[in-house]
Amino acid sequence: MSVATLGHERHGLTLGGYAICLNGVLWREALRFIHQRGRFLAALVRPLVWLVIFAAGWRQVLGVSIAPPYHTYILYSTYVVPGLLAMIQFFYGMQSSLSMVYDREMGNMRVLLVSPFPRWFLLISRLLAATVISIIQCYAFLVIAWLWGVEIPDAGWLVVLPALIIGGFMLAAMGMVLSSVIRQLENFAGVMNFVIFPLFFASSALYPLWQVQQSSPILYQACLLNPFTYVVELIRFSLYSTWNPTAILVVVGCTIVFTAAAIFAYDPARGLLARRPGAAA
């Protein structure tokens, strides 16, 4: 087929074309994940260590009283599962942002950005791909937790899915914003220390907020300001098929803000990347 005959065919970015592009981004993310088996193993082992070792050690120390969404006293291992699901998504979101920094340093990012599809669509495709992979990890973890003896309501397996989708997307978007401001791969250790750990520990992932409030009102306020807290609570309530409008509103709001910020950051007209030589690599 000659160049001339193809000319106009490809300018019409059809709905089918968008679907192919999204599928391609998902497929590449999945292939990378499969090829890096160590990543998958690490992603599963990390929360399992918390569940099997940390939760076992703390179950006698931490008393978890009856508080929504729970209707009875629960073991600490049951309490911590939603937090660990959010942790999986949080770490994968950061892993994905690390991968974006790596792609930028290695030049792969350019291949994505010179696609004729709109940049917002490419970035959202990338976020969706990260979300899908994180959800697969979450379900793998849930199965193991269930085998370990953690009780998960039957409906919760399905009802938690939308929460995992929106929560995973929000955390991936947050990672993408971070990736736009990280100039070098080496700086990622700083992100671990100054972003991931504070957000994870200053949340309701490991201990109930009422206990935090009793021990440290300042930390309690920090937990309330932390968007990660609301991802944890959204997953927790969804797992027990319970409605938590505050968590939904905060997570949806943060998703919109982080996604808009990521699109802004990667916009060649306005974004942060255009302000320095070689930054779009």
């Binding site: 160049v3 490809r10 300018h11 192919i20 291949v111 060649p268 070689g278």
Partner: protein, 269 residues
């Protein structure tokens, strides 16, 4: 459709007589430092143009603007008549790009790299597979399709990148110093293959280089130095205008700097 819609469509539609790639009055700065200063150049449809400039001349910045990695704030760039700023999708669909840095995903196979790129251009699976086979055949790497990209030599990786840039059948191919870091034989293969593709497929090529031995008589040459186009035209015209004996002397006269030889370049200068 009313009159205003029609007028807008007419304004957006490219004129068939326009060059394949056109850069008009483009300037770009990084803070206070001016990287490009009112650059003008054009590559005719199906033509081969060499963008000649030393390291730091502004070639990579220009590529970043052409490929819309950076936004064009001053001037206008169009591909097949489509303005990169106003109609980026149409312009980028016409463009095949080979960046200076290696951009293959080393963990994926050669074929998967091509299929990923095809998906980013909206090519369906069946068509993408057929195109991947065809372009790998074009660059002589069909038998390496299932190998991981990291198993290839530097020259082979570059050829895969050229194949990848062609998978969506662009009408313009831009290459940013594609032979940097390659041995003499690989360089020769790549130059020859791209020229052949340009001739047989009618693809317009903008080939950025700082090596004079990659330029042939009859090529359209654009001399870029410190962000400015100092001369543009056929090689013989540039030599004549500079009243020089060859392109090397003309380049020296125009820039006040010696052009690097392949030997010097290989030595890392």
């Amino acid at each position: 459709m009313d009159g205003s819609d029609l007028a807008e469509l007419t304004a957006l539609a490219p004129d068939p007589g326009t060059p394949a790639l056109s850069v008009e009055g483009v300037s770009h700065s990084y803070g206070e430092r001016r990287a490009l200063d009112a650059v003008n150049l054009a590559v005719p449809r199906g033509g081969f143009a060499a963008l000649l400039g030393l390291n730091g001349a502004g070639k990579t910045t220009l590529f970043s603007l052409i490929t819309r990695l950076f936004d064009t704030r001053h001037g206008r760039i169009s591909v097949q008549g489509y303005d990169v700023a106003r109609r980026p999708s149409a312009a980028l669909a016409e463009l095949g790009v080979v960046f200076q840095a290696r951009t293959l995903d080393l963990d994926l196979s050669v074929r998967d790299n091509l299929l990923y790129h095809a998906a980013l251009h909206g090519l369906g699976r069946r068509r993408a597979q057929a195109r991947a086979a065809a372009v790998l055949e074009d660059v002589g790497l069909a038998e390496r399709a299932r190998d991981k990209a990291r198993e290839l030599s530097g020259g082979q990786m570059r050829r895969v990148e050229i194949a990848r840039a062609l998978i969506h059948e662009p009408s313009v191919l831009v290459l940013d110093e594609p032979t940097v870091g390659l041995d003499v034989a690989s360089k020769a293969t790549i130059v020859e293959q791209v020229r052949a593709l340009s001739r047989t497929r009618g693809v317009a090529v903008l080939w950025a280089t700082h090596l004079l031995d990659e330029i042939e008589a009859g090529d359209h040459v654009i001399v870029l130095h410190l962000g400015k186009v100092l001369a543009a035209g056929e090689m013989s015209a540039i030599i004549a205008a500079a009243q020089a004996s060859d392109l090397r002397s003309a380049f020296r006269q125009l820039t006040g700097t010696a052009a690097p030889t392949p030997e010097r370049e290989d030595a890392g200068t």
